[in-house]
């Protein structure tokens, strides 16, 4: 039997290896300093995502020497560094940095004994996301997804004495385990149909199967439904969204932020890899009932409507942001179902802009919660009088989430809508995408209502504010980073747009 070992190329995995070692080091560091260091653990943890981030950015800008063969595939094509992988790694690492930066408050006050574990688990979760982004076949993808979520179960329940936090942890665990099972079950269907777990090979085998039988029927349909449900739970797409508000409300605020950005981005990558890449042949109305495009489009509509309408009634700002993130996932899914050279690019830019705005908004909420212990929107009343910088920056984050130019969120919404229209103008069978755009536009107006409500309370209330915000250095840095992100990438978006332009090619959507 002719068997050669796959080529191992550790260079491809350098950032991941570093993250792994550094996460272990953070655990150890907290122990050997006898859990006495308050902020040092946090700063130590910041290095974890910062170094890989710099590494990837240097690689992309061409500052690394050619001999550091970072891009391309390694480990027998199980691990693949294309633009998509690198771009999403930047998003994950950025989210991790901002989450760690806004955790300094709670590790000072509440998590006194387990700082190392808190940060270490956060790094492990990020590591899982990075593997997920580089995965090129279903099993690696599944393992990456598990490594992402299992640390987050623990992190969601990190306030052991707080009922809500424990509830959040348990809820997230049950839902997460259940959805993983669904996902795995769905993957087994795909494996049964195509005989491979490799995504590209799967795409080809499926196309052959499809061409020879035309209608693969109920097995594929079952697989698609299971996979949509499995990833839908991770993405909190309605009707699989019920866990999100409770979990966001209960878990520590930086973890909620990380869930809403990092975990969501991971779900998007998984979705893109399985559906856009693997099941590309089964998109479009003529393939009904095996078509997944309209099904996902329907979920996107549900997400935008439910997310934006229910958010209006929320009184807790974390719950409001949870529903807003459900709605934002709906907007992102518009880009996801557009299978041309614009679709995945708009998804990537959207999640990038969303990272800055949403992490920033949650960072502001975390700062407020650290000082007042409250997450009620009512308590933000009149804050503009005592803490104008805080009020202005939170407003800018919310405005970017609405999509007001010239902030980055606007360009993101623009790109998603543009992608949908670009496909609908060319392909008459895709004219249902106009409905997605229409609902998106309409619900964006609703979204303005609840985002503006927070601004209204902060700026327009006549009551004397009860609180004055003071900032710690890391928290202020996170706010400024978020602001810089939404402003700079709204006005000078060219480098990012250039980068995301090649992403659809990685999914085989067009040949550059």
């Amino acid at each position: 039997m002719d068997f050669t070992l796959p080529q191992y190329d550790p260079f491809r995995m350098l950032p991941e290896i570093f993250m792994l070692l550094w996460a272990l080091w953070v655990f150890t560091y907290d122990l050997i300093t006898k859990r006495q260091k308050e902020a040092a653990v946090g700063y130590m943890a910041l290095i974890g995502p910062a170094v890989p981030l710099l590494f990837i950015v240097f690689y992309l800008t061409g500052l690394l020497p050619e001999s550091w063969r970072y891009g391309g595939s390694g480990f027998g094509a199980m691990f693949f560094n294309d633009t998509t992988a690198m771009f999403f790694k930047i998003v994950f690492l950025g989210a991790a940095i901002m989450a760690i930066g806004s955790s300094f408050g709670i590790t000072k006050q509440k998590i006194v004994n387990h700082r190392g574990e808190f940060y270490g688990l956060l790094l492990f979760s990020t590591l899982g996301m990075m593997f997920l982004a580089s995965s090129n076949e279903l099993l690696t993808l599944y393992i990456g997804l598990e490594l992402t979520t299992i640390p987050l179960f623990v992190l969601a329940a990190f306030f052991k004495d707080d009922k809500l936090s424990v509830e959040a942890g348990v809820k997230y665990f049950v839902i997460g385990a259940f959805s993983s099972a669904l996902l795995l079950y769905g993957m087994s269907f795909l494996y049964g149909l195509s005989g491979t777990t490799g995504l590209v090979q799967m795409k080809m085998n499926m196309a052959v199967v499809f061409l020879s039988y035309r209608d693969i029927g109920v097995i594929l349909l079952g697989g698609i439904v299971l996979l949509v449900a499995g990833v839908g739970f991770k993405l909190a797409l309605p009707p699989f969204h019920q866990w999100a508000p409770d979990v966001y409300e209960g878990s520590p605020t930086p973890i909620a932020a990380f869930l809403s950005v990092g975990s969501k981005a991971a779900g998007l990558v998984a979705f893109g890899k399985i559906f856009v890449n693997g099941l590309m042949a089964f998109f479009g109305p003529e393939q009904a009932p095996n078509d997944w495009g309209m099904l996902v489009g329907l979920l996107a509509i549900l997400a935008m409507v439910i997310g934006n309408v229910v958010a209006i009634r929320q009184t807790n700002i974390k719950r409001m942001l949870a529903y807003s993130s459900i709605a934002q996932a709906g907007y992102i899914m518009i880009g996801m179902v557009v299978l041309n050279e614009h679709g995945m690019a708009s998804v990537a830019y959207y999640i990038f802009a969303y990272m800055f705005a949403n992490m920033g908004a949650f960072a502001a909420v975390a700062i407020f919660e650290d000082q007042t212990g409250s997450c009620q929107i009512e308590d933000y009343k009149g804050l503009a009088k005592t803490s104008p910088v805080f009020a202005v920056s939170l407003s800018l984050f919310l405005l970017s989430l609405v999509g007001i130019p010239p902030l980055a969120g606007f360009l993101a919404k623009y790109k998603v809508f543009a992608a949908a229209i670009s496909m609908a103008t060319v392909d008459p069978s895709a004219s249902w995408l106009y409905w997605l755009v229409g609902v998106g536009v309409l619900t964006a107006v609703f979204s303005l209502f609840y985002y503006a409500n927070v601004m209204r309370l902060m700026f327009f209330s006549n009551e004397e504010p009860r609180h004055k915000i003071t900032y710690s250095v890391p928290a202020l840095c996170v706010l400024l980073l978020g602001l810089a992100g939404i402003v700079v990438f709204g006005i000078y978006a060219e480098p990012i747009l250039k980068l995301v332009r090649t992403i659809p090619a990685d999914f085989g959507l067009y040949i550059p």
Binding site: P388, L399, I404, P405, P406, F410, Y414, K415, F417, A418, I421, S422, T425, V426, V437, G438, V441, L442, A444, V445, L448, F449, A452, R456, F459, F460, A493, E494, L497, K498, R501
Partner: protein, 530 residues
């Protein structure tokens, strides 16, 4: 310098924004001073622009075209023609005057207020300069935020309701417009192979099918009609106007409403000429309804400010009527009337604000005999009122006369119904004037009112000068407007001619009949040839 002047005018207020953010919050005088100086310098830049503008030149002038986001085909493309030049002048004058007018009335949050005003100015000028659809949209949206805060923070008792209503209405319209813009982008890409938002290129080259034009006109026209506001979409306006602070109302009436009509003339008419002709009767009817309805509702208002607000609905109806008469007189009149409305309604809001500062009420029944107590105030009010009604030798006359002339050319019925609006305007304005200013001073509180201060006179004198200048010698304005108006009219005439030659419906009939019966189709062809 010719290249940079537009950038300078547009973004100079932003320099002020940066400057004001640095200043400490409690130094009110220097904040006000700086804001005033910045807005005055912006005004000076805009007069410089006016002198550099060549009234004989065709097309856009002082064009700047720099790629901004090349991968999306977005460029920083700015330029002015006669229409936008006049509106920019109006913007800079009114911003300067309203900053001066807010000197004493804004006492809380001074810093934020002046920052918002300057930010708003950049947004407004940007809308009038932008020649790139994307830039146009960006500026269009940017000015929403400061206006939201100006109404919501410094407004009247129901300010929050008004602010949110204003933003929701505008946002709804503008998002539909965004969808339209994206659609045009891809149509243009299909046609020419490149991504471009360039308004001039798109207007000049892109052939849009009739069906597409109908939809796109709908999307754009809804955004603009909400802004104008045309009759069924006007409900945000009285709330926003009445609740906004004086300067907010002035800017709102003076400039923001013009953005809607400007959008019609810059984008809707030239880009969708066939759809314009199809929609024309409906829009004319809606503007006639606006003229009459606005006037009738204004007549029964008890609050002077909401009276002026409803008179705005009526006046903007005139502007729309003139524009959709689609002939030289009508369009010229409608642009002149845009400027006039900015001056006279802006002036009325300023005057009402001055009275409100003294008495803290705006109800007509609280006044009476004010002319005896405040003679100078009454005189200024009279002049602006007459200009609003459209008395000969005031600016209002020039605009309304031309609009009605255009309307009569188009259709006698439009002209007749429109002309009644002028009569109604005289009714509600003069009746209000009589109840407020004439008669005996019935209310004791009114006896101690002070007449205008020199600051207030400084605000009003330029407006009065403009009223008479445009009323007596409007020739320079016509000269500036002529090339751009001719261009629009030519385009519309061409579209109308094409429409008459081979009507779409005849074409459709021919093809359907041809399929069914050869003989019959031959007959119809002959008939159409005759």
């Amino acid at each position: 310098m010719e290249k940079e002047i537009l950038t300078l005018v547009t973004f100079f207020p932003l320099v002020g924004v940066v400057l004001l953010t640095i200043l400490p919050r409690d130094r009110h005088d220097s904040i006000k001073g700086f804001a005033l100086i910045i807005s005055f310098v912006t005004f000076l830049f805009s007069t410089w622009l006016y002198y550099m503008f060549d009234p004989l030149g065709n097309g856009m002038q002082m064009e700047v075209n720099i790629p901004w986001i090349t991968s999306l085909g977005i460029s920083y493309h700015m330029g002015v023609d006669g229409i936008s030049l006049l509106l920019i002048m109006l913007t800079t004058i009114l911003t300067f005057l309203s900053i001066l007018a807010s000197w004493n009335s804004i006492k809380t949050g001074v810093k934020g207020y002046y920052i918002s005003m300057l930010l708003l100015e950049t947004g407004m000028i940007g809308v009038f300069c932008a020649l790139d659809l994307f830039m146009f949209y960006v500026f269009w949206e940017v000015m929403l935020v400061p206006m939201y805060f100006i109404i919501g923070l410094w407004g009247g008792p129901r300010k929050i309701y008004a602010a949110i209503k204003f933003v929701l209405f505008t946002m709804f319209g503008s998002l539909l417009m965004l969808v339209g813009i994206i659609y045009i982008l891809f149509e243009y890409q299909k046609y020419s192979g490149v991504f471009s938002f360039d308004m001039l290129k798109i207007i000049g080259e892109l052939p849009l099918s009739y069906q597409a034009q109908l939809w796109l006109f709908g999307a754009f026209a809804l955004a603009f009609a909400i802004k104008v506001p045309l009759f069924p979409f006007h409900t945000w306006l009285p709330d926003a106007h009445v609740q906004a602070p004086t300067a907010g109302s002035v800017i709102l009436a003076g400039v923001l409403l013009k953005m809607g009509t400007y959008g019609f003339i810059r984008i809707c008419l030239p880009l969708f000429p066939d759809a314009t002709i199809t929609y024309l009767p409906y829009i004319c009817i809606l503007s006639l309804i606006a003229i009459i309805y606005g006037a009738l509702v204004a007549m029964v208002q008890r609050d002077v400010k909401s009276l002026v607000a409803f008179s705005s609905v009526s006046h903007m109806g005139f502007v729309m009527l003139g524009m959709f008469a689609l002939n030289t007189q009508g369009i010229q009149g409608s642009i002149i009337q845009m400027i006039n409305h900015g001056i006279s309604t802006g002036g009325l809001f300023l005057l009402v604000g001055m009275l409100y500062e003294r008495r803290h009420t705006r109800l007509i029944e609280d006044f009476g005999g004010i002319a005896r107590v405040m003679p100078a105030y009454a005189a200024f009010f009279m002049i602006i009122t007459l200009s609003s009604i459209g008395l000969p030798f005031t600016n209002g006359f020039v605009g309304e006369f031309l609009i009605l002339l255009g309307a009569f050319h188009k259709n006698n019925v439009y002209g007749i119904i429109g002309a009644t609006g002028v009569v109604f305007a005289a009714c509600y304005m003069l009746w209000m004037y009589q109840r407020v200013f004439f008669g005996k001073v019935t209310n004791d509180e009114n006896k101690k009112l002070l007449d205008l201060s020199w600051r207030e006179k400084v605000i009003l004198v330029p407006l009065v000068l403009l009223v008479f200048w445009i009323g007596v010698y409007p020739k320079p304005l016509f000269e500036i407007l002529k090339p751009s108006v001719n261009l629009v009219v030519e385009q519309m005439e061409r579209a109308e001619a094409v429409r008459l030659d081979d009507d779409y419906r005849v074409e459709e009939k021919l093809t359907t009949v041809e399929v069914g019966n050869n003989e019959l189709s031959f007959d119809t062809e002959e008939q159409s040839d005759e």
